[in-house]
Structure formats: C-alpha cells, structure tokens
C-alpha cells in the first residue's frame, strides 16, 4: 500500500514518525515521509500527488483537534475521501471519539507496537478487498480498537 506519513503543525519531534515510516517499509509498504511542520493544505496536496491509499498523521503538540479535522475536510473537499486516515502521537482518550467521527479509522498512542499498525493496514486491505469503504470520506462505522 502507498502510505504517507505526515507531521502537521508546529511540533518539531519526528522520531516517532520516522520509526513508523521505517516499520511500514519493512512491512512491505511504500512510504512517503513529508518532513516536519506541514500545513493541512500541504498534506492534502502531497496525498493527492502521491495518490496515496493511506495517510498517517503524527502529532504531539496538542493541536490535533484543529489540524486533523482540517486535513480530513481538505481530503474530502479535493475528492480524496477514499484515503484511509490514521493518527498517532499524544491524543487524549477524551478527544478520540470526535476524531473517529470525522472518519479517522485508527488512533495509536504511546506504547503501540509497530506490528499493531501493520495489522491495522492489513485489516484495511482485506476490508477494501471485500468491498467495504473505509476511507475518511466514506460511510463505514468501522474503527480499529
């Protein structure tokens, strides 16, 4: 699967994002890492140009409740609603429902094993194969828990 790993906003720590990018590559995925401090518009554009099937957002700054909705809306607006969106970093449990309701299919917190993220992507693949639509702009109720 072609996956973009992106760092939205102003937080300057990307060790986690790089570990994820590496783990996904080792799991057989083609991974594009955007680098630090990207705006929602830049992330949507990169997702479009790369024709990525999935977008992973890493945020540690606490601005997830502003940035992630902006990205999800941007994807839908640009007709990229089939993109599967997942997130990771520091996202408190109390904020997660709101993000899931926007179409974010998985939220991984600290301590998640890299194999769990690969399992998630495998699950995405098999659901897509069986015809289920799990993109950010699609109506599935499914979330990874």
């Amino acid at each position: 699967m072609k996956v973009i790993v992106a760092k939205p906003g102003l937080d300057g720590h990307d060790r986690g994002a790089k570990v994820i990018a590496r783990a996904l590559r080792d799991g057989g995925h083609e991974v594009v890492y955007t680098g630090l401090r990207k705006t929602p518009e830049e992330i949507v554009r990169a997702t479009m140009d790369e024709d990525a099937a999935a977008l992973g957002l890493s945020t540690l700054s606490g601005a997830h409740d502003v940035l992630i909705p902006a990205i999800c809306e941007g994807l839908i607006k640009e007709d990229l609603g089939r993109t599967v969106v997942f997130a990771g970093g520091i996202i408190p449990a109390s904020d997660r429902d709101a993000l899931h309701n926007l179409g974010v299919r998985a939220i991984f917190g600290p301590g998640t094993s890299t194999s769990e993220i690969l399992d998630f992507l495998n699950e995405v693949s098999s659901r897509k194969k069986s015809g289920e639509s799990v993109g950010v702009g699609e109506s599935s109720e499914w979330r990874w828990e």
Binding site: R22, E30, A46, M48, D49, D51, D79
Partner: protein, 290 residues
C-alpha cells in the same frame, strides 16, 4: 470493458487539467496501463548521482527558480524498493522544501518495485503524460547506486550528474560508464572543504574527451552557483539518445524475460549444484522459450 471506459475518463480528465486524475493516471501507468496519447514534445532533465550528494535539495532549487518564473515543474523521484520486504521509504519529497507549495509544482515519488530493468518500462509513458498535461519542466531524480537505477536517467533529454565534495565517487564511476551519459556535472556543497579539489579532479579526468561535459561548483543550501547552473542547463542542446533508450528498453525487456522465465529456478539449481555449465544454462533458457 467497463474498466477501459473508466480509465479513459481518467485520461481525459487529467488532460483537461485535473491534478487528482493526473496522479491516478500515473498509478495506472505504474500498474501497466498504456494511455493512448499523441506524440508529445517534452522538456526533461535526469538528475543522478550517489546517495547523499544533494540531488533532491538541488532539484528544490530548480523547482523554486522555474516555478517563480511561471513554468510548471513536475518531478518524478525514484527510490529503490527493499529487495527483502518489497517496501520502500521514499524520502526525496521531504528534501524538496517547495514540493507541496503550489499549483505549478507536482512531485511524485516512485519505488522501483524490483521491476527487472528498473522503471524503464514505463518512465517514458509517464513523461508523455506529464507533458500532455502541460508540465513544461520535467525532472527525473534517480538513485545513482545501482546500474538500472541511474540508467533511468537515459530517458531524459539532458542528464545532470551530482556529486559531493568528499567522495570522488563519480570519478570512480567513470570506469562504469555513468559519466558518459552526463551533459553537465555538478559538485554540490561548495561551502565544504575539498569541493574545489573535487571539481578540479573531475575536470581533469575529463580533459581527454572531445566534448567534455561542463563542471559546476554549487551550494544548494545557500544558492551559490545555482543561477549559472540553470543557465547552462537551459542552453544545453540535448543530444539524441534514441539509440541509448532503445538499448535500455531491450536490456530491460531481456532482464524481464529472463527473470520471469518458468524454468529459471530449476536452471539456477542445476547451475548451483554444478550439474550444468553457464553455457548450458543459457541454452536451456533460450531453448525452452515459449
């Protein structure tokens, strides 16, 4: 049939300027689709050189220059797939600061996907598509570490070879023939010690050639020498590489036939255990063809 109709819709929409459908079209081409396009005039440059020489950063400079002048710049950045997992980490985009900056810049990362013969099977189709969609500066970035990887640069009309100051890698590579392809050679990181010597060593190693490529000393980080380099690129008269490209296609097709041959594993086993000679193995494969 229905699939074909859908693909044609994507082609039409891309030609009418849909960026999203251009991007989808490139994915289709990657999986073997060949759109029916009229012959395209295109402007292309291949950028190759050893890992870490600063190819992506330098392309970032070109992107800024051309896009601010009103050109539409597309970059195809090629990175290798892991032979172990089949996955790939495509990091060139990250090093091009202006990659996501606007409507006049399009950057697409491509993994080699261990295609026998690299990406050469469909890179020219991608170039035609980009040209047909109005992208008038097309840059192909390749890794310089493997034969088939840098050979993709042969599909561009102009070839830029980038090296760093501390390596002299491309002087080494002279023996391997990569330097023959270059129209222009760039020693990047001119702010670092040893860069002038590296440029001189390259210039002197080429002094026996009848028409040696020009050698530029630049620093993509602070912009030193970039304008002169771009000026030289713009004035570079592309040499016809049709013979070279035909050769690349043949090698790639040959590799692909060999590597997809149903008897390949059996023949390798026979060879491994010494039951047949290399000559026998070649005969075995060519005879059992079709």
């Amino acid at each position: 049939m229905e699939m074909g109709v859908k693909e044609q819709d994507i082609v039409d929409s891309a030609l009418q300027g849909s960026r999203r459908d251009l991007s989808r079209l490139l994915t289709l081409i990657e999986s073997g689709f060949e759109p029916n396009l009229s012959l395209q005039e295109s402007w292309t440059i291949g950028v190759t050189g050893p890992p870490g020489a600063g190819k992506s950063s330098l392309i970032g400079n070109f992107v800024d220059y051309w896009s601010s002048r009103g050109d539409k710049v597309a970059v195809l950045a090629v990175d290798p797939s892991s032979p172990k997992s089949g996955g790939a980490l495509l990091g060139d985009r990250m090093r091009m600061a202006s990659a996501d900056s606007g409507d006049s810049v399009f950057v697409r990362s491509l993994a080699t996907r261990n295609h026998p013969g690299g990406l050469s099977a469909y890179i020219s189709t991608m170039i035609d598509c980009l040209a047909a969609c109005g992208w008038n500066r097309i840059v192909i970035e390749t890794v310089g570490s493997g034969q088939s990887d840098y050979r993709i640069a042969a599909f561009a009309d102009r070839i830029l070879l980038v090296d760093g100051p501390d390596r002299g890698d491309i002087v080494q590579a002279e023996k391997a023939g990569i330097i023959e392809l270059a129209d222009i050679i760039v020693v990047n990181k001119s702010d670092l010690e040893g860069s002038e010597q590296a440029a001189e060593a390259i210039t002197s190693s080429l002094s026996m050639d009848t028409s040696p490529p020009s050698v530029h000393l630049v620093c993509s980080h602070d912009g030193t020498g970039i304008e002169e380099l771009i000026h030289d690129i713009e004035n570079c008269v592309p040499e016809s590489r049709s013979g070279l490209r035909a050769r690349e296609r043949l090698i790639s097709a040959w590799d692909s036939r060999l590597l997809n041959h149903p008897e390949l594993i059996r023949v390798i086993e026979l060879l491994e255990t010494g039951r047949i000679t290399l000559e026998d193995a070649i005969r075995e494969i060519t005879l059992s063809e079709g």
